[in-house]
Protein backbone atom coordinates (compact mmCIF):
# COMPACT_ATOMS: atom_id res chain seq x y z
CA UNK A 1 0.00 0.00 0.00
CA UNK A 2 2.90 2.30 0.82
CA UNK A 3 4.25 2.92 -2.66
CA UNK A 4 1.04 4.19 -4.11
CA UNK A 5 -0.27 5.91 -1.02
CA UNK A 6 2.43 8.44 -1.83
CA UNK A 7 1.02 9.00 -5.30
CA UNK A 8 -2.45 9.37 -3.84
CA UNK A 9 -1.26 12.04 -1.44
CA UNK A 10 0.53 13.70 -4.33
CA UNK A 11 -2.75 13.70 -6.21
CA UNK A 12 -4.46 15.54 -3.37
CA UNK A 13 -1.68 18.08 -3.12
CA UNK A 14 -2.00 18.76 -6.84
CA UNK A 15 -5.76 19.01 -6.51
CA UNK A 16 -5.42 21.39 -3.61
CA UNK A 17 -3.08 23.57 -5.63
CA UNK A 18 -5.39 23.57 -8.61
CA UNK A 19 -8.28 24.51 -6.34
CA UNK A 20 -6.48 27.57 -5.11
CA UNK A 21 -5.31 28.47 -8.59
CA UNK A 22 -8.71 28.09 -10.17
CA UNK A 23 -10.11 31.09 -8.39
CA UNK A 24 -13.00 32.17 -10.57
CA UNK A 25 -15.10 29.22 -9.56
CA UNK A 26 -18.12 28.90 -11.73
CA UNK A 27 -21.19 27.55 -10.20
CA UNK A 28 -22.76 24.98 -12.42
CA UNK A 29 -25.09 23.87 -9.71
CA UNK A 30 -26.99 27.03 -9.06
CA UNK A 31 -30.73 26.75 -8.86
CA UNK A 32 -32.18 23.60 -10.26
CA UNK A 33 -33.08 24.18 -13.87
CA UNK A 34 -36.73 24.15 -14.55
CA UNK A 35 -37.46 23.28 -18.12
CA UNK A 36 -40.73 25.09 -17.78
CA UNK A 37 -39.15 28.46 -17.11
CA UNK A 38 -38.73 30.23 -20.31
CA UNK A 39 -35.94 32.64 -19.45
CA UNK A 40 -33.72 29.69 -19.61
CA UNK A 41 -33.84 29.79 -23.38
CA UNK A 42 -34.07 33.47 -24.00
CA UNK A 43 -31.71 34.89 -21.46
CA UNK A 44 -28.34 34.85 -23.09
CA UNK A 45 -26.56 36.01 -19.97
CA UNK A 46 -27.80 33.01 -18.01
CA UNK A 47 -25.48 31.06 -20.19
CA UNK A 48 -25.26 27.33 -20.02
CA UNK A 49 -21.72 27.50 -21.23
CA UNK A 50 -19.34 26.43 -18.55
CA UNK A 51 -15.96 27.66 -17.60
CA UNK A 52 -13.50 25.46 -19.35
CA UNK A 53 -10.08 27.07 -18.97
CA UNK A 54 -8.36 23.75 -19.61
CA UNK A 55 -10.20 23.24 -22.88
CA UNK A 56 -7.17 22.26 -24.95
CA UNK A 57 -6.01 19.76 -22.31
CA UNK A 58 -9.56 18.48 -21.93
CA UNK A 59 -9.98 18.07 -25.66
CA UNK A 60 -6.80 16.01 -25.78
CA UNK A 61 -8.06 13.82 -22.93
CA UNK A 62 -11.43 13.53 -24.64
CA UNK A 63 -9.64 12.29 -27.74
CA UNK A 64 -7.65 9.81 -25.67
CA UNK A 65 -10.77 8.50 -23.97
CA UNK A 66 -12.60 8.35 -27.25
CA UNK A 67 -9.85 6.26 -28.81
CA UNK A 68 -9.44 3.88 -25.87
CA UNK A 69 -13.18 3.54 -25.68
CA UNK A 70 -13.52 2.70 -29.34
CA UNK A 71 -10.60 0.29 -29.56
CA UNK A 72 -10.38 -1.19 -26.08
CA UNK A 73 -13.29 -0.72 -23.70
CA UNK A 74 -16.10 -1.04 -26.19
CA UNK A 75 -14.88 -4.25 -27.88
CA UNK A 76 -14.24 -5.79 -24.45
CA UNK A 77 -17.68 -4.85 -23.18
CA UNK A 78 -19.24 -6.09 -26.41
CA UNK A 79 -17.52 -9.44 -26.07
CA UNK A 80 -18.54 -9.58 -22.43
CA UNK A 81 -22.16 -8.82 -23.31
CA UNK A 82 -22.19 -11.75 -25.73
CA UNK A 83 -20.97 -14.17 -23.07
CA UNK A 84 -22.85 -12.88 -20.06
CA UNK A 85 -26.65 -12.68 -20.30
CA UNK A 86 -28.40 -9.41 -19.40
CA UNK A 87 -29.91 -10.60 -16.14
CA UNK A 88 -26.51 -11.69 -14.80
CA UNK A 89 -25.11 -8.30 -15.76
CA UNK A 90 -27.98 -6.72 -13.87
CA UNK A 91 -27.06 -8.79 -10.83
CA UNK A 92 -23.43 -7.71 -11.03
CA UNK A 93 -24.53 -4.12 -11.28
CA UNK A 94 -26.79 -4.51 -8.24
CA UNK A 95 -23.96 -6.10 -6.27
CA UNK A 96 -21.57 -3.19 -6.79
CA UNK A 97 -24.27 -0.62 -6.23
CA UNK A 98 -25.19 -2.21 -2.95
CA UNK A 99 -21.59 -2.18 -1.73
CA UNK A 100 -21.48 1.54 -2.39
CA UNK A 101 -24.60 2.30 -0.38
CA UNK A 102 -22.73 3.04 2.89
CA UNK A 103 -20.81 5.77 1.04
CA UNK A 104 -24.10 7.23 -0.17
CA UNK A 105 -25.52 6.99 3.33
CA UNK A 106 -22.66 9.03 4.77
CA UNK A 107 -22.88 11.58 1.98
CA UNK A 108 -26.63 11.95 2.50
CA UNK A 109 -26.01 12.66 6.17
CA UNK A 110 -23.25 15.13 5.35
CA UNK A 111 -25.65 16.90 2.99
CA UNK A 112 -28.40 16.97 5.59
CA UNK A 113 -30.71 14.77 3.49
CA UNK A 114 -31.96 12.80 6.45
CA UNK A 115 -34.90 11.12 4.77
CA UNK A 116 -32.74 10.06 1.80
CA UNK A 117 -30.19 8.69 4.25
CA UNK A 118 -32.99 6.62 5.76
CA UNK A 119 -33.96 5.31 2.32
CA UNK A 120 -30.37 4.33 1.56
CA UNK A 121 -30.10 2.62 4.94
CA UNK A 122 -33.29 0.62 4.43
CA UNK A 123 -32.31 -0.27 0.86
CA UNK A 124 -28.95 -1.52 2.07
CA UNK A 125 -30.58 -3.63 4.79
CA UNK A 126 -33.21 -5.15 2.51
CA UNK A 127 -30.90 -5.75 -0.44
CA UNK A 128 -28.10 -7.21 1.64
CA UNK A 129 -30.41 -9.67 3.38
CA UNK A 130 -33.42 -10.24 1.08
CA UNK A 131 -31.38 -9.52 -2.02
CA UNK A 132 -28.69 -12.02 -0.99
CA UNK A 133 -25.64 -9.81 -0.45
CA UNK A 134 -26.96 -7.22 -2.85
CA UNK A 135 -27.33 -9.46 -5.89
CA UNK A 136 -30.99 -8.61 -6.21
CA UNK A 137 -32.78 -5.34 -5.70
CA UNK A 138 -35.96 -6.23 -3.78
CA UNK A 139 -35.87 -2.86 -2.00
CA UNK A 140 -36.49 -1.11 -5.30
CA UNK A 141 -38.60 -3.72 -7.03
CA UNK A 142 -40.82 -4.97 -4.25
CA UNK A 143 -40.81 -2.20 -1.68
CA UNK A 144 -40.55 0.86 -3.88
CA UNK A 145 -37.50 2.38 -2.19
CA UNK A 146 -36.08 4.23 -5.14
CA UNK A 147 -32.38 4.63 -5.77
CA UNK A 148 -30.76 7.57 -4.05
CA UNK A 149 -27.71 9.29 -5.48
CA UNK A 150 -25.20 11.02 -3.24
CA UNK A 151 -21.53 11.61 -3.81
CA UNK A 152 -18.82 13.51 -2.00
CA UNK A 153 -18.69 15.91 -4.96
CA UNK A 154 -22.28 16.85 -4.22
CA UNK A 155 -21.55 17.05 -0.50
CA UNK A 156 -18.77 19.53 -1.19
CA UNK A 157 -21.15 21.48 -3.45
CA UNK A 158 -23.69 21.79 -0.63
CA UNK A 159 -20.90 23.05 1.57
CA UNK A 160 -20.28 25.83 -0.89
CA UNK A 161 -17.19 24.52 -2.64
CA UNK A 162 -17.23 25.45 -6.33
CA UNK A 163 -16.56 23.11 -9.21
CA UNK A 164 -13.13 24.57 -9.79
CA UNK A 165 -13.08 23.74 -13.45
CA UNK A 166 -14.38 21.25 -15.95
CA UNK A 167 -12.04 18.32 -16.21
CA UNK A 168 -11.93 15.41 -18.59
CA UNK A 169 -10.13 12.70 -16.66
CA UNK A 170 -8.13 10.17 -18.67
CA UNK A 171 -9.84 6.76 -18.73
CA UNK A 172 -12.65 8.11 -16.62
CA UNK A 173 -14.50 10.82 -18.50
CA UNK A 174 -16.11 14.18 -17.82
CA UNK A 175 -15.99 15.55 -14.30
CA UNK A 176 -14.94 18.68 -12.49
CA UNK A 177 -12.01 19.22 -10.21
CA UNK A 178 -14.21 19.12 -7.14
CA UNK A 179 -16.29 16.17 -8.24
CA UNK A 180 -13.37 14.06 -9.33
CA UNK A 181 -11.61 14.70 -6.03
CA UNK A 182 -14.81 13.51 -4.38
CA UNK A 183 -14.95 10.45 -6.62
CA UNK A 184 -11.42 9.45 -5.67
CA UNK A 185 -12.09 9.86 -1.96
CA UNK A 186 -15.43 8.06 -2.26
CA UNK A 187 -13.69 5.25 -4.10
CA UNK A 188 -10.52 4.80 -2.10
CA UNK A 189 -11.55 6.02 1.29
CA UNK A 190 -14.90 4.39 1.83
CA UNK A 191 -15.91 1.82 -0.71
CA UNK A 192 -15.38 -1.55 0.94
CA UNK A 193 -14.32 -3.61 -2.04
CA UNK A 194 -11.13 -1.65 -2.36
CA UNK A 195 -10.22 -2.23 1.26
CA UNK A 196 -10.51 -6.02 0.91
CA UNK A 197 -7.23 -5.97 -0.90
CA UNK A 198 -4.15 -3.82 -0.93
CA UNK A 199 -2.95 -5.05 -4.28
CA UNK A 200 -3.24 -2.28 -6.84
CA UNK A 201 -3.59 -4.82 -9.63
CA UNK A 202 -6.56 -6.48 -7.95
CA UNK A 203 -8.16 -3.11 -7.28
CA UNK A 204 -7.75 -2.09 -10.90
CA UNK A 205 -9.15 -5.45 -11.93
CA UNK A 206 -12.24 -4.97 -9.78
CA UNK A 207 -12.71 -1.46 -11.08
CA UNK A 208 -12.33 -2.51 -14.72
CA UNK A 209 -14.70 -5.43 -14.20
CA UNK A 210 -17.29 -3.16 -12.67
CA UNK A 211 -16.96 -0.57 -15.42
CA UNK A 212 -17.01 -3.17 -18.21
CA UNK A 213 -20.19 -4.57 -16.77
CA UNK A 214 -21.73 -1.12 -16.56
CA UNK A 215 -20.72 -0.33 -20.12
CA UNK A 216 -22.13 -3.60 -21.42
CA UNK A 217 -25.56 -2.33 -20.41
CA UNK A 218 -25.38 0.75 -22.58
CA UNK A 219 -23.56 -0.43 -25.68
CA UNK A 220 -23.99 1.70 -28.74
CA UNK A 221 -25.24 4.72 -26.85
CA UNK A 222 -21.99 6.62 -27.09
CA UNK A 223 -21.69 5.93 -30.82
CA UNK A 224 -25.24 7.11 -31.36
CA UNK A 225 -24.56 10.24 -29.35
CA UNK A 226 -21.39 10.98 -31.28
CA UNK A 227 -23.09 10.43 -34.59
CA UNK A 228 -25.69 13.08 -33.84
CA UNK A 229 -23.25 15.65 -32.47
CA UNK A 230 -21.54 18.45 -34.31
CA UNK A 231 -18.83 18.80 -31.73
CA UNK A 232 -18.89 15.72 -29.49
CA UNK A 233 -16.61 17.44 -27.00
CA UNK A 234 -19.04 20.32 -26.45
CA UNK A 235 -22.04 18.00 -26.61
CA UNK A 236 -20.60 15.74 -23.92
CA UNK A 237 -19.64 18.65 -21.70
CA UNK A 238 -23.11 20.09 -21.96
CA UNK A 239 -24.71 16.68 -21.49
CA UNK A 240 -22.57 16.01 -18.44
CA UNK A 241 -23.68 19.18 -16.67
CA UNK A 242 -27.33 18.70 -17.60
CA UNK A 243 -27.32 15.09 -16.45
CA UNK A 244 -25.54 15.93 -13.23
CA UNK A 245 -28.06 18.63 -12.48
CA UNK A 246 -30.82 16.11 -12.85
CA UNK A 247 -29.08 13.61 -10.59
CA UNK A 248 -28.77 16.26 -7.92
CA UNK A 249 -32.29 17.54 -8.14
CA UNK A 250 -33.84 15.71 -5.24
CA UNK A 251 -37.20 17.43 -5.50
CA UNK A 252 -38.26 14.67 -7.87
CA UNK A 253 -37.63 11.02 -7.06
CA UNK A 254 -35.24 9.10 -9.23
CA UNK A 255 -36.56 7.45 -12.34
CA UNK A 256 -36.15 3.75 -12.26
CA UNK A 257 -36.00 1.55 -9.22
Amino acid sequence: MRHYSRSISLFFVVCGLLFTLAQPCFSADGDAVDFLSDDFYEDETASIETDDPLESFNRAMFQLNDTTYTYVFNPVAEGYSKVVPPDIRGVVWNFFRNLEEPVRFINCLLQGRISDAGTVFVRFLINTTGGVAGLGNPAGREFGFKRVEATLGETMATWGIGDGLYLVVPFYGPSTLRDFTGTVIDGFGMTPYYTFTDDLGVMAGIYLGKETNKLSMSLGEYEEFKKLSFDPYVALRNGYFQYRKKLRDHSVPNDGE
Binding site: G90, L228, A235, Q242
Partner: protein, 219 residues
Protein backbone atom coordinates in the same frame (compact mmCIF):
# COMPACT_ATOMS: atom_id res chain seq x y z
CA UNK B 1 -79.91 53.80 -27.51
CA UNK B 2 -78.91 55.53 -24.36
CA UNK B 3 -76.94 53.61 -21.79
CA UNK B 4 -78.95 55.25 -19.05
CA UNK B 5 -82.01 53.53 -20.41
CA UNK B 6 -80.50 50.12 -20.29
CA UNK B 7 -79.00 50.42 -16.85
CA UNK B 8 -81.87 51.93 -15.01
CA UNK B 9 -81.27 51.37 -11.36
CA UNK B 10 -78.33 50.63 -9.11
CA UNK B 11 -79.91 47.28 -8.35
CA UNK B 12 -79.68 46.31 -12.02
CA UNK B 13 -76.00 47.16 -11.96
CA UNK B 14 -75.61 45.13 -8.82
CA UNK B 15 -77.48 42.25 -10.40
CA UNK B 16 -75.24 42.35 -13.45
CA UNK B 17 -72.18 42.35 -11.23
CA UNK B 18 -73.54 39.37 -9.36
CA UNK B 19 -74.07 37.48 -12.61
CA UNK B 20 -70.55 38.38 -13.70
CA UNK B 21 -69.09 37.22 -10.42
CA UNK B 22 -71.00 33.97 -10.57
CA UNK B 23 -70.21 33.43 -14.20
CA UNK B 24 -66.45 33.87 -13.83
CA UNK B 25 -65.67 30.61 -12.05
CA UNK B 26 -68.05 28.76 -14.35
CA UNK B 27 -66.37 30.22 -17.40
CA UNK B 28 -63.05 29.32 -15.83
CA UNK B 29 -64.14 25.73 -15.47
CA UNK B 30 -65.56 25.34 -18.94
CA UNK B 31 -62.34 26.58 -20.56
CA UNK B 32 -60.04 24.38 -18.50
CA UNK B 33 -56.62 23.70 -19.85
CA UNK B 34 -56.57 20.53 -21.95
CA UNK B 35 -54.65 17.64 -20.48
CA UNK B 36 -51.20 17.35 -22.08
CA UNK B 37 -50.83 13.64 -21.37
CA UNK B 38 -54.20 12.90 -22.94
CA UNK B 39 -53.07 14.72 -26.08
CA UNK B 40 -49.64 13.11 -26.12
CA UNK B 41 -50.78 9.50 -25.64
CA UNK B 42 -52.62 8.93 -28.93
CA UNK B 43 -49.80 10.66 -30.76
CA UNK B 44 -47.09 8.43 -29.28
CA UNK B 45 -49.23 5.38 -29.96
CA UNK B 46 -49.67 6.41 -33.57
CA UNK B 47 -45.93 6.93 -34.04
CA UNK B 48 -44.91 3.63 -32.46
CA UNK B 49 -47.60 1.80 -34.43
CA UNK B 50 -46.28 3.15 -37.71
CA UNK B 51 -42.75 2.21 -36.68
CA UNK B 52 -43.77 -1.28 -35.64
CA UNK B 53 -45.55 -1.89 -38.95
CA UNK B 54 -42.87 -0.31 -41.08
CA UNK B 55 -40.77 -2.38 -43.39
CA UNK B 56 -37.55 -0.78 -42.20
CA UNK B 57 -35.36 -3.37 -43.87
CA UNK B 58 -36.35 -2.37 -47.38
CA UNK B 59 -36.55 1.31 -46.74
CA UNK B 60 -33.07 2.58 -47.44
CA UNK B 61 -34.37 5.94 -48.65
CA UNK B 62 -36.21 6.38 -45.37
CA UNK B 63 -39.62 7.03 -46.86
CA UNK B 64 -40.96 6.21 -43.43
CA UNK B 65 -38.99 9.15 -42.07
CA UNK B 66 -40.95 11.57 -44.22
CA UNK B 67 -44.21 9.99 -43.11
CA UNK B 68 -43.23 10.21 -39.47
CA UNK B 69 -42.12 13.79 -39.83
CA UNK B 70 -45.42 14.70 -41.46
CA UNK B 71 -47.38 13.10 -38.66
CA UNK B 72 -45.10 14.48 -35.99
CA UNK B 73 -46.00 18.00 -37.08
CA UNK B 74 -49.35 17.61 -35.38
CA UNK B 75 -47.59 17.45 -32.00
CA UNK B 76 -44.07 18.81 -32.59
CA UNK B 77 -43.59 22.50 -33.16
CA UNK B 78 -40.43 22.57 -35.27
CA UNK B 79 -40.65 26.31 -35.66
CA UNK B 80 -40.50 26.83 -31.91
CA UNK B 81 -37.63 24.35 -31.63
CA UNK B 82 -35.61 26.16 -34.28
CA UNK B 83 -36.24 29.49 -32.62
CA UNK B 84 -35.01 28.19 -29.29
CA UNK B 85 -32.01 26.36 -30.60
CA UNK B 86 -30.69 29.49 -32.31
CA UNK B 87 -31.47 31.88 -29.46
CA UNK B 88 -30.41 35.40 -30.27
CA UNK B 89 -29.26 34.50 -33.77
CA UNK B 90 -32.84 33.65 -34.80
CA UNK B 91 -33.94 37.27 -34.63
CA UNK B 92 -31.30 38.33 -37.12
CA UNK B 93 -32.53 35.95 -39.84
CA UNK B 94 -34.77 36.95 -42.72
CA UNK B 95 -38.14 35.28 -43.15
CA UNK B 96 -36.79 33.08 -45.89
CA UNK B 97 -33.72 32.08 -43.87
CA UNK B 98 -35.96 31.19 -40.97
CA UNK B 99 -38.08 28.93 -43.14
CA UNK B 100 -35.00 27.24 -44.56
CA UNK B 101 -33.53 26.73 -41.16
CA UNK B 102 -36.71 25.17 -39.80
CA UNK B 103 -36.73 22.66 -42.69
CA UNK B 104 -33.09 21.82 -42.20
CA UNK B 105 -33.32 21.47 -38.44
CA UNK B 106 -36.45 19.34 -38.78
CA UNK B 107 -34.51 17.00 -41.01
CA UNK B 108 -31.74 16.74 -38.43
CA UNK B 109 -34.20 16.07 -35.62
CA UNK B 110 -35.83 13.36 -37.65
CA UNK B 111 -32.62 11.38 -37.21
CA UNK B 112 -32.08 12.38 -33.61
CA UNK B 113 -35.59 11.57 -32.43
CA UNK B 114 -37.02 9.12 -34.93
CA UNK B 115 -33.78 7.16 -34.84
CA UNK B 116 -34.08 6.99 -31.10
CA UNK B 117 -37.64 5.78 -30.84
CA UNK B 118 -37.07 3.45 -33.77
CA UNK B 119 -34.64 1.48 -31.62
CA UNK B 120 -37.38 1.13 -29.08
CA UNK B 121 -40.24 0.32 -31.39
CA UNK B 122 -42.22 -2.44 -29.79
CA UNK B 123 -40.83 -1.67 -26.34
CA UNK B 124 -43.31 -0.26 -23.96
CA UNK B 125 -43.64 3.44 -23.36
CA UNK B 126 -45.14 4.36 -20.02
CA UNK B 127 -46.57 7.71 -19.09
CA UNK B 128 -45.38 8.47 -15.61
CA UNK B 129 -46.65 11.93 -14.86
CA UNK B 130 -47.01 15.51 -15.91
CA UNK B 131 -46.48 19.02 -14.65
CA UNK B 132 -48.20 22.16 -15.89
CA UNK B 133 -46.91 25.67 -15.32
CA UNK B 134 -48.93 28.33 -17.08
CA UNK B 135 -48.75 27.68 -20.80
CA UNK B 136 -45.99 25.11 -20.48
CA UNK B 137 -46.09 21.48 -19.54
CA UNK B 138 -43.80 18.55 -19.09
CA UNK B 139 -45.10 15.08 -19.92
CA UNK B 140 -42.91 12.38 -18.44
CA UNK B 141 -42.55 9.00 -20.07
CA UNK B 142 -40.33 6.00 -19.62
CA UNK B 143 -38.99 3.78 -22.34
CA UNK B 144 -38.79 0.36 -20.77
CA UNK B 145 -36.16 -1.95 -22.18
CA UNK B 146 -35.30 -5.42 -20.81
CA UNK B 147 -32.66 -4.27 -18.43
CA UNK B 148 -33.15 -0.56 -18.11
CA UNK B 149 -35.55 2.30 -18.07
CA UNK B 150 -34.88 5.48 -19.98
CA UNK B 151 -36.77 8.55 -18.84
CA UNK B 152 -37.92 10.76 -21.71
CA UNK B 153 -39.76 14.01 -21.05
CA UNK B 154 -41.64 16.10 -23.58
CA UNK B 155 -41.65 19.82 -22.93
CA UNK B 156 -44.77 21.39 -24.37
CA UNK B 157 -46.29 24.76 -25.08
CA UNK B 158 -50.02 25.42 -25.16
CA UNK B 159 -50.93 26.83 -28.57
CA UNK B 160 -54.66 27.44 -28.79
CA UNK B 161 -56.08 24.25 -27.36
CA UNK B 162 -53.19 22.07 -28.45
CA UNK B 163 -50.11 21.18 -26.47
CA UNK B 164 -47.11 21.26 -28.79
CA UNK B 165 -43.73 19.69 -28.05
CA UNK B 166 -40.77 22.03 -28.30
CA UNK B 167 -38.10 20.03 -26.50
CA UNK B 168 -37.34 16.41 -25.72
CA UNK B 169 -35.39 15.65 -22.57
CA UNK B 170 -33.69 12.25 -22.46
CA UNK B 171 -32.26 11.25 -19.09
CA UNK B 172 -32.22 14.83 -17.95
CA UNK B 173 -30.45 16.06 -21.07
CA UNK B 174 -32.42 18.47 -23.22
CA UNK B 175 -31.92 17.88 -26.91
CA UNK B 176 -32.50 21.52 -27.78
CA UNK B 177 -30.18 22.85 -25.10
CA UNK B 178 -27.48 20.44 -26.12
CA UNK B 179 -27.67 21.51 -29.75
CA UNK B 180 -27.99 25.12 -28.67
CA UNK B 181 -24.58 25.06 -27.00
CA UNK B 182 -22.97 23.32 -29.96
CA UNK B 183 -24.59 25.72 -32.44
CA UNK B 184 -23.51 28.72 -30.41
CA UNK B 185 -19.87 27.76 -30.76
CA UNK B 186 -20.27 27.19 -34.50
CA UNK B 187 -22.08 30.52 -34.92
CA UNK B 188 -19.29 32.30 -33.09
CA UNK B 189 -16.58 30.80 -35.26
CA UNK B 190 -18.26 30.38 -38.63
CA UNK B 191 -21.37 32.59 -38.56
CA UNK B 192 -24.79 31.51 -39.70
CA UNK B 193 -23.72 30.35 -43.17
CA UNK B 194 -21.15 28.02 -41.59
CA UNK B 195 -23.78 26.55 -39.31
CA UNK B 196 -26.11 25.83 -42.23
CA UNK B 197 -23.29 24.11 -44.08
CA UNK B 198 -22.47 21.97 -41.07
CA UNK B 199 -26.07 20.88 -40.54
CA UNK B 200 -26.40 20.03 -44.24
CA UNK B 201 -23.24 17.97 -44.01
CA UNK B 202 -24.45 16.18 -40.90
CA UNK B 203 -27.83 15.34 -42.44
CA UNK B 204 -26.08 13.94 -45.49
CA UNK B 205 -23.79 11.84 -43.28
CA UNK B 206 -26.72 10.46 -41.34
CA UNK B 207 -28.60 9.66 -44.55
CA UNK B 208 -25.65 7.79 -46.00
CA UNK B 209 -25.00 5.97 -42.77
CA UNK B 210 -28.61 4.85 -42.60
CA UNK B 211 -28.64 3.69 -46.21
CA UNK B 212 -25.45 1.71 -45.65
CA UNK B 213 -26.76 0.11 -42.49
CA UNK B 214 -29.92 -1.01 -44.25
CA UNK B 215 -28.01 -2.28 -47.26
CA UNK B 216 -25.91 -4.36 -44.89
CA UNK B 217 -28.99 -5.80 -43.23
CA UNK B 218 -30.44 -6.77 -46.59
CA UNK B 219 -27.44 -8.89 -47.50
Amino acid sequence: MNIKNTIKTPSTVLGMLMILLLATPIAGLSSTVPDPTQQMKPFVNKMTKILAEADVKNDSQCSICQRLIDISRERFDYNEMSKRVLGKAWRKLSKEEKENFVDLFTELLQYAYVGKIQNYAGQSIEFTGQRIKGKRAEVKTELVDNNKTIPVSYIMLLEGDQWMVYDVVVEGVSLIRNYMEQFREILRKEQYSGLVKQIEKKVKELQDERAQRIAKQQQ
